[in-house]
Point group: D2
Chain length 139, copies 4
């Protein structure tokens, strides 16, 4: 995997992820990125994995390029990194790879905006988030 | 809805579409676009709704801007249109609206590539597709 | 539909509900029942469709008999009724039908237990629930 | 885990498996059982994991008792076993456990009927299936 990705997470393709074309449905790629993003936030210590009201960010936009079909039984690994860190938002990039041969299956990106789920309003990216992301990513 | 969209399809938000943030999960927006796209292809006569090996196109890339949360009980309507028609690919644009007040909830786009699901190879967009899409969209 | 069902709700089969066998995945039948159950609770006035902490019941068990495959494009209608009303739990029965020809596609049942989602403890079925369910179902 | 289960498979709870009640949605329990069942069939050599037209069985009925909520981050393990082997059908039983402390989260059961997905007709359980299941389960 591109060493720019300092974090990656394995995904088990589920039978129910497949659609009638007999490959993983394209919307599930966003789910795979979401699984890895949540683990990334937990590992860096930005989310405790328990309190959904303190998730801290909301997805403002997402994009994905589907390069190869993902088939049942294929060992998938998702790389995540914070590629850009702004005042109110940050951009995370993703790569989905075949964990066995390293073939790139998809690339994606999400813009996340700081968000207070209790008040339901956008907020600035918290200072401790900035510090930890900069430290982890070396940016 | 923007009159550029000559086709739209209503979506019923399901309880199971919601995530712990208590709004529709962001990956489901791609599913909502997929629901509308399949109906669009059926209405224009490009797909019979039965033979999945003759679906004719594969999603090469997708993007979505999430403008407002979609809540349970919100009547959603998805507009679909073919915005660009190339030799090997076409771009469909989408708008998700609150069917009651017309508020735009999300906008999205997918690039579809001609695809033969039996041979599993890319193909040119078939001539009859071009003709029907040009006729329907007036392009 | 069997007149014992005083409530029914239409379901649009989504492309993403299908699995590689090219029919609706069996787990989605529970989702179809859930969609109809939530609408039933809203219609009878037991849930406002907004406050998830006041849903009032939790699923304790579920069962389903899959009688015919559900295919893409098939118009499905789900009947729901409260078949048994106890002190701490109630049993809802379901029938999934082809809305066009009335063919029974599946039958199912769920036991729901009174539940306080804030305290996370089981509670008795509230008195007003009993009254409204008895009135609606004529039991 | 009860030693009657000679096969088990770990499941990673996904954020997207959760519903607004902030636990795993009840329909996903069937999906968790399906994940483990597919792996069981692969391990015993009854399905190659590739050819969906040769899956050999169809789900005729399913039931599940939901004993404890499954939360995000909980390590789940699903036990599967063939509990009854008839001429035309077989019954598989399941147990969902917390892999850390062994607490039973749910129990379930599915009846599977021999099925030819190409001809779309029920068939007898093939002789080699019987032999391998009897051998693996010691029945």
């Amino acid at each position: 995997m591109d060493p720019a990705f300092r974090f990656s997470h394995p995904i088990e393709v589920r039978y129910a992820d497949l659609d009638p074309q007999r490959h993983v449905n394209h919307a599930k790629y966003l789910t795979y990125m979401e699984i890895a993003r949540a683990q990334y936030l937990k590992q860096i210590g930005l989310w405790n994995g328990v309190d959904f009201d303190r998730l801290g960010v909301i997805v403002a936009s997402a994009s994905c390029s589907f390069l190869r079909p993902i088939l049942y039984g294929m060992p998938v690994r998702v790389g995540v990194r914070t590629a850009k860190l702004g005042t109110k938002s940050l951009r995370m990039d993703y790569v989905l790879e075949d964990a066995q041969d390293g073939a790139v299956l998809a690339t994606g990106s999400t813009v996340l905006v700081g968000y207070d789920y209790v008040q339901m309003v956008s907020i600035a990216i918290p200072g401790d988030w900035r510090a930890r992301l900069e430290e982890f990513e070396g940016i």
